[in-house]
């Protein structure tokens, strides 16, 4: 609030010389100097290599193809924080496009922070896989990720193959799991429940019972500074982790961190790409969104960061396919998840975890 007030107060001061200049018509205004260039702001993840990889694989090619448009990347730590920032600037947004988790985006859709896309301006939307589609043309899925097991390759001689390996006594005290409200723990609950033959929308008692047996083996429910650092350093040996970041950390740590997609399958996390309502560059923003959803951009980002593409026409090489959930046999093992339903029950599940799993 104070910022806005002071800006208003400063404006006449800034304008005075500009008016003076234009009156003498000697200077060029900055708009002319820029040749009418448009700048759009993208708000997306700041962490885990996402920013650098996204700029390289998606934004730079877009700017080359569209010399009139520049994309500024505004890195934010989490989807929830993005929503927080967007809420505070709802009446006068400074961001045009945002990439965030599907269930957080749905809250923003309902609050009127995001606007539906125009299918005519984002033709690539029609080629997206079913899981990437969002109601009423709101921002669709742009990346798929999935839960995996990450392990320290020095300490672990036989790589894990199953989620059940978490209960292996060899890992006692050497396990890290991000508990709910983090999506990691929510996802693990869904997977275990499915393995034990239950339906998570009916009851999660089977999963909770199993997790209670795991609790004494868990070193931390809130890995700091993050899961990947703990695995790489050997502070923990086995951890619940996300595929894309694990694959990247595997490469960056020269294989100190190993990644396994357990044979029972996993769940997919979806990041959506959204148009901010009331943004001044809606056309350029949608042009960028269309580019982000194009097979080329999707393939390039998958190759850099191992998120699986959401556009079904995307072609990636075998290595990238093997390291994401792109292969048909892996896709078959993915457990269907209704993230919006889960978002509604997140607080409730968090409570159950705290009462029956963690403080047990």
């Amino acid at each position: 609030m104070t910022k806005r007030m002071s800006r208003r107060a400063v404006l006449p001061l800034l304008l005075a010389p500009a008016v003076a200049l234009s009156a003498c018509s000697t200077g060029t205004t900055s708009d002319e100097a820029n040749g009418g260039e448009t700048t759009i702001r993208l708000m997306a993840y700041a962490t885990g290599g996402f920013k650098e990889k996204y700029i390289k694989a998606v934004i730079e090619p877009f700017e080359q193809a569209n010399p009139g448009i520049k994309v500024e990347y505004d890195g934010v730590v989490s989807s929830a924080e993005m929503l927080g920032r967007l809420r505070t600037q709802k009446s006068n947004p400074t961001v045009d496009v945002s990439i965030m988790d599907l269930s957080v985006a749905e809250s923003a859709n309902k609050e009127g922070i995001f606007a539906p896309l125009d299918p005519a301006k984002v033709p690539n939307m029609k080629d997206l896989s079913e899981q990437a589609k969002v109601r009423d043309n709101f921002g669709p899925g742009v990346t798929f990720d999935n839960l995996t097991l990450a392990y320290n390759t020095k300490a672990v001689s036989t790589p894990p193959t199953s989620w059940n390996d978490l209960w292996d006594p060899a890992y006692k005290g050497k396990i890290s799991i991000s508990a709910p409200p983090q999506l990691d723990g929510i996802g693990l609950t869904v997977i275990l429940n499915k393995m034990l033959g239950g339906d998570y929308t009916a009851s999660i008692e089977p999963a909770i019972k199993r997790l209670r047996e795991l609790a004494p083996s868990v070193q931390t429910w809130n890995p700091q500074p993050d899961t990947y650092t703990l695995v790489k350093s050997g502070q923990v040996e086995l951890a619940l982790a996300w595929n894309a970041r694990s694959q990247l950390q595997h490469d960056q740590s020269n294989g100190a961190l190993g990644v396994v997609l357990p044979k029972e399958g996993s769940i997919m996390q979806v990041n959506t790409i959204n148009l901010v309502k009331g943004g001044k560059q809606a056309d350029a923003a949608q042009k960028f969104i269309d580019h982000a959803l194009s097979p080329d951009a999707q393939a390039a980002f998958s190759a850099e960061m191992f998120y699986a593409p959401t556009n079904m026409l995307t072609k990636v090489n075998d290595e990238v396919a093997q390291r994401t959930v792109m292969t048909p046999e892996k896709l078959k093992t993915m457990i269907a998840v209704d993230w919006n339903w889960l978002a509604e029950h997140r607080a409730e599940w968090t409570d159950v975890w705290r009462k029956d799993v963690i403080s047990n």
Partner: protein, 274 residues
């Protein structure tokens, strides 16, 4: 009055406006997972106050606050007393050493403790080398680690507050007691300690308030097992995105501070009035 205006204005903008905004937010509603809807509803307060787990968290917070306060005061008292009374030329240097930790952020210091107290950290290796333990003690990712780190982080505050409050401790009175036949212990119990109580109370209040509002250390050192009101507010505000609930919790925590301030003033007056 005219002279007061800028000060009042600054206070109003920097403290009052955010507080009013917070109080207003706590009356809004969260619909569905995290959709924020404007409203004037006490629902968040009702939810918080009827949630058994929140009471447990509140109780846990107070318990942690008391434990850390007592330990911090016990450890800091001798240091503060020494620094307040010493006539050594090194006093300035020693003061600076005691306060120096304040120059680094508590995030850095907590991470430092995380490394020192880990399974292969300095503390556990020393214990093993000395043959005191065979298995590493679990000193991180639990409440033990949180208490150790918090006590160390709070010590400079306690020392500063106590030194400031030790004004009435006087060498002359102690010497008088000594010349009248009181032993060292008796002199401490009857003269020095009672005179230092205002300092102790100020230090204790400061440590207590800082501890129950501490967020970073329980978060980083707790391994997700230590639930306190501050971490709860953080989760509600930044992960579950229930802003009204987070605001309601903040307002309630603020009220709790108020209660302790009043208690402190009573206690202070009691001691002073003696």
């Amino acid at each position: 009055m005219a002279l007061l205006t800028p000060g009042l204005l600054a206070l109003g903008v920097s403290f009052l406006v955010p507080l009013v905004w917070l109080a207003r937010m706590s009356l809004n509603r969260t619909v569905g997972p995290a959709e924020l809807q404007p409203a004037v509803s006490p629902q968040s307060y009702i939810d918080v106050l009827t949630d058994g787990f929140m009471w447990k968290v509140a109780w846990h917070t107070l318990w942690l606050g008391l434990l850390v306060t007592v330990l911090t005061i016990v450890v800091s008292y001798p240091i503060a007393l020494f620094l307040a009374r010493t006539r050594s030329r090194l006093r300035g240097l020693l003061m600076a050493l005691a306060i120096a930790p304040l120059l680094t952020s508590s995030v850095v210091r907590t991470f430092g403790w995380l490394i020192l107290l880990s399974d292969d950290g300095v503390v556990n290796s020393a214990l093993r080398t000395l043959g005191i333990t065979s298995e590493p003690l679990v000193l991180t990712n639990n409440v033990t680690g949180v208490v150790i780190a918090l006590v160390e982080i709070m010590m400079p505050y306690a020392i500063l507050a106590m030194i400031a409050g030790f004004g009435r401790v006087s060498k002359n009175l102690e010497e008088a007691a000594g010349s009248l036949g009181a032993g060292r212990l008796r002199c401490f119990v009857r003269i020095t300690f009672p005179l230092s109580l205002p300092g102790v109370f100020t230090g204790a209040l400061m440590v207590f308030v800082l501890t129950i509002s501490a967020f970073i250390t329980p978060r980083l050192m707790g391994g997700g097992r230590v639930f306190v009101i501050a971490t709860e507010i953080y989760d509600q505000a930044t992960t579950t995105l229930d802003w009204p609930r987070a605001s309601a919790l903040s307002v309630l925590l603020l009220l709790l501070f108020g209660v302790f301030l009043v208690l402190y003033q009573r206690l202070f007056r009691m001691v002073e009035g003696k």
